[in-house]
């Protein structure tokens, strides 16, 4: 992807400012309708999920006390992995978004929730809810675009460090909870000369304390309680955390990295209206198709588009409003990016590989790959007549244009 403003064909050029505001009003109406109908059914849903997750976790940890017995290890590890995924995705992420604050239950509230993840709730809420959700896909403002360690957009400047990004991404996937914690500390921004910042030191201490208590639980107390099964229980906890990390990393990569997702210039959000903010969320997110189990295990982030439009609506409602949202995409001539989990994961990973190289090299490599299947094109390429078949290199010099001006053009 290339910042929308630098593209030769602007996907929103056909929309007038009036269209965009009208779109905003239609989306507001969808939101209002859900807010007005939130009730007992929704409250029962989240309580049921929390109830099931806690019972599953207790049962899995209990079964693992006998993890020396292989079937017990397998059942306990699967159960613990599923429980950790549910706790992070459908429960933790969504509760901390304030999706359930309306119930006025202090135990299921964004201001009191803490989760089974290295990143302390308060820090995660700042970097995720405030920065990522407000500045979604704005180059230079939304650090989720590559987490500061990767280049996932042609308009992000290449450096030799990015040559290693397939490896960085793999390591980040395995250690995702720690990656997120470090990321929430905004290390890259603070590192030069700001190590002595007392606020940074306080936050870093919170992270270390949290990592210590979580590790004590998973890697010390639970194994010790397992007596002769200590080693296998330790392995089960390592496995469950790894499974949870790989799964959440994959799901989250699918939200904003696959092909078809747009990015935006920093200047394009100056004086952004409500309608334009909505439009940016629509173009900047991608969904994952699948069945009810997939939606539950992704914390309904498989409805990333709906989630980004309405981050505070209860997650169980996203799939209900998805057809209406999709109808708006169609009516306003916008493309709703959606694909199966394997397709989207592959798409995101291919971008990580492609952009490890500078743009021109990446383009040539892509062309080679494309033409390798066609002998005639390959011959032409070798002769140097590639201009007609290559993707246009992004116009680095193109003046960033206001979203609305482009739209009005």
């Amino acid at each position: 992807m290339t910042a929308l403003q630098n593209k030769t064909s602007n996907p929103i050029a056909h929309l007038t400012p009036a269209d965009i505001e009208n779109l905003g009003r239609e989306l507001d109406a969808i939101r209002d309708q859900v807010v007005a109908s939130r009730g007992e059914r929704d409250a029962a849903y989240i309580r049921r999920v929390i109830d099931a997750q806690r019972k599953l976790e207790l049962a899995s940890r209990a079964v693992l006390l006998a993890s020396l017995f292989p079937p017990a290890w397998l059942a306990g590890t699967v159960g613990l992995s599923v429980s950790k995924i549910l706790e992070n995705m459908e429960i933790g992420h969504n509760v901390m978004h304030g999706q359930w604050d309306w119930m006025r239950d202090p135990k299921i509230h964004s201001t009191t929730w803490e989760w089974d993840n290295a990143s302390p709730a308060a820090q995660w809420k700042h970097s995720h809810n405030e920065l990522h959700h407000t500045y979604t896909n704005v180059l230079g403002r939304d650090n989720d675009l590559g987490y500061g360690i990767m280049r996932v957009d042609e308009d992000q400047r290449w450096s030799p460090f990015h040559l290693g990004q397939p490896l960085w991404n793999f390591l980040n996937a395995c250690l995702f909870e720690y990656g997120i914690a470090v990321y929430d500390l905004e290390l890259p921004k603070r590192f030069p000369g700001r190590k002595d910042d007392p606020e940074f030191r306080r936050q870093a201490k919170q992270v270390l304390t949290k990592i210590r208590t979580q590790a004590t639980r998973d890697y010390v107390v639970h194994p010790l309680l397992s007596g002769p099964s200590a080693v296998t229980t330790f392995a089960a906890n390592v496995t469950a955390n790894l499974v949870r990390n790989l799964w959440t990393h994959s799901v989250i990569m699918c939200g904003h990295f696959p092909e078809g997702v747009e990015t935006f210039q920093k200047s394009s959000i100056e004086g952004e209206s409500r309608g334009e903010w909505y439009l940016r969320q629509m173009l900047g997110s991608a969904n994952i198709s699948g069945g009810p189990a997939l939606h539950l295990m992704t914390g309904n982030l498989s409805y990333q588009i709906e989630h980004h439009l309405f981050p505070d609506l209860p997650s169980n409602r996203y799939q209900e409003i998805a057809p209406k949202v999709r109808e708006l995409f169609d009516r306003y001539g916008l493309s709703y990016t959606v694909g199966s989990l394997p397709t989207q994961v592959a798409s995101a990973w291919s971008k990580v590989f492609r952009l490890a190289l500078p743009n021109d090299v990446a383009v040539r490599a892509a062309t080679v790959a494309e033409t390798a299947t066609s002998p005639r094109k390959l011959i032409r390429l070798l002769r140097g007549h590639v201009a007609g078949t290559t993707r246009p290199a992004p116009a680095e010099a193109a003046a960033p244009t206001d979203l609305r001006e482009r739209a009005a053009a």
């Binding site: 939130r38 119930m103 006025r104 700042h126 407000t134 979580q214 004590t216 639980r217 639970h222």
Partner: protein, 361 residues
């Protein structure tokens, strides 16, 4: 019994609890206990509705089984209960109508459905046995003293009879001379009418029933005529505000104001308007804000250190408790009201004052 087996057991229990905390982090053991047995939690007092008995066509008595940690009440006191109505937790206070010595350990509250009353209508018409409700400890000063007064007068109207019934059920044996003057629209509408009439027939109390639909509202003069020796009696009164105000004035005039005990049995009415005084309680700052200014902006302009985030209602970084008052959601126009203890939290970046309000900041 000099040996105390409990003494060494306590550190052991504490150690087990400490270990349990290591396993349940970042939650606490009670969070897991809650899903297995919601009434066992020592940290969060709850109760289970075990039965609902109709009293009149619009009032029921709910029998509640309190969880661990409930301390017996003093009859006449009230209890706040938190009920999830349409998924939203609402807190209300109800008088306890049971004696604290009930053999089954349960307590009862008696609820009359008020027109448009969200919680009372739910409790009277929809609440089912098995439902878990949140509970506070009983509280209130509307109780009989010890030693008991020799001559007592109770003046009640409508559901104002409920705290008095709690006292009668518990302490009638210790009260030799009781007069109950109770007002209700009709005989059928009198909550506990049957039980009161029975007590009167057995000569345990003198009951004066007033049916206001046919006889009109009881005046103080009429009351004085009905109970000529009221000045000699220790009096407890509970009912609508105008009635209590009239009684208060009369008792003051008689110079016996200290002998009148009242329970103001009305919901706190939050008057919603457009804008109002916003008080930041912990900062000790008050500002006037109009109905279009987010409380976040008003607070910042007044120099209050406000938590903030996206400033557009999506990140929930600015959420603070609304102790009391009313605010309006600037996006939808929806009104949120709170009275102390409700535990209501609001997003300051999209909420404007809708009347006087106080924030815990």
């Amino acid at each position: 019994m000099t040996a105390e087996p409990a003494a060494p057991a306590r550190p052991l229990l504490e150690r087990v609890l400490r270990l349990a905390e290591l396993v349940t982090t970042p939650l606490v053991p009670a969070d897991y206990l809650d899903v297995l047995s919601p009434l066992r939690s020592p940290a969060q007092l709850r109760a289970r509705i075990v039965a609902s008995h109709p009293e009149t066509r619009d009032a029921v008595t709910l029998v509640l089984e309190p969880g661990r940690g409930w301390r017996p009440h003093v009859p006449g006191q009230y209890v706040r209960i938190g009920v999830d109505v349409d998924g939203v937790r609402q807190w209300r206070a109800y008088s306890l109508t049971s004696s604290p010595e009930r053999p089954d350990g349960c307590l009862t509250i008696t609820v009359k459905a008020i027109d448009g009353g969200k919680v009372s209508s739910y409790l009277v018409r929809r609440a089912r046995s098995g439902t878990i409700v949140q509970l506070d400890q009983a509280t209130g000063e509307f109780v009989l003293p010890t030693p008991r007064p020799r001559q007592v007068l109770f003046v009640t109207a409508g559901s104002g009879i409920t705290p008095v019934m709690g006292m009668l059920r518990h302490a009638l044996d210790e009260l030799p001379d009781v007069v109950v003057v109770h007002s209700a629209p009709t005989a059928a509408d009198a909550i506990f009418g049957g039980e009161l009439r029975q007590l009167a027939r057995r000569g345990r109390i003198r009951l004066v029933e007033r049916h206001t639909d046919s006889e009109g509202i009881l005046t103080v003069e009429e009351l004085h005529a009905l109970v000529p020796d009221l000045a000699a009696r220790e009096t407890w009164a509970c009912g609508p505000t105008p009635m209590l105000d009239a009684l208060g004035d009369h008792w003051e005039q008689l110079g016996i104001g200290a002998r009148l005990h009242t329970e103001r049995f009305r919901p706190t009415v939050v008057v919603a308007g457009d804008g109002g005084t916003v008080t930041f309680a912990r900062s000790g700052v008050s500002v006037e804000a109009d109905g279009r200014t987010p409380i976040l902006d008003a607070g910042e302009a007044a120099g209050v250190l406000m938590p903030s985030g996206c400033r557009m209602g999506i990140c929930f970084g600015c959420v603070v408790p609304l102790r009391e008052g009313a605010v309006r959601d600037l996006r939808t126009g929806d009104l949120t009201t709170a009275v102390p203890g409700d535990g209501v939290r609001v997003q300051t970046c999209v909420s404007a004052a809708a009347g006087a309000c106080q924030l815990d900041l």
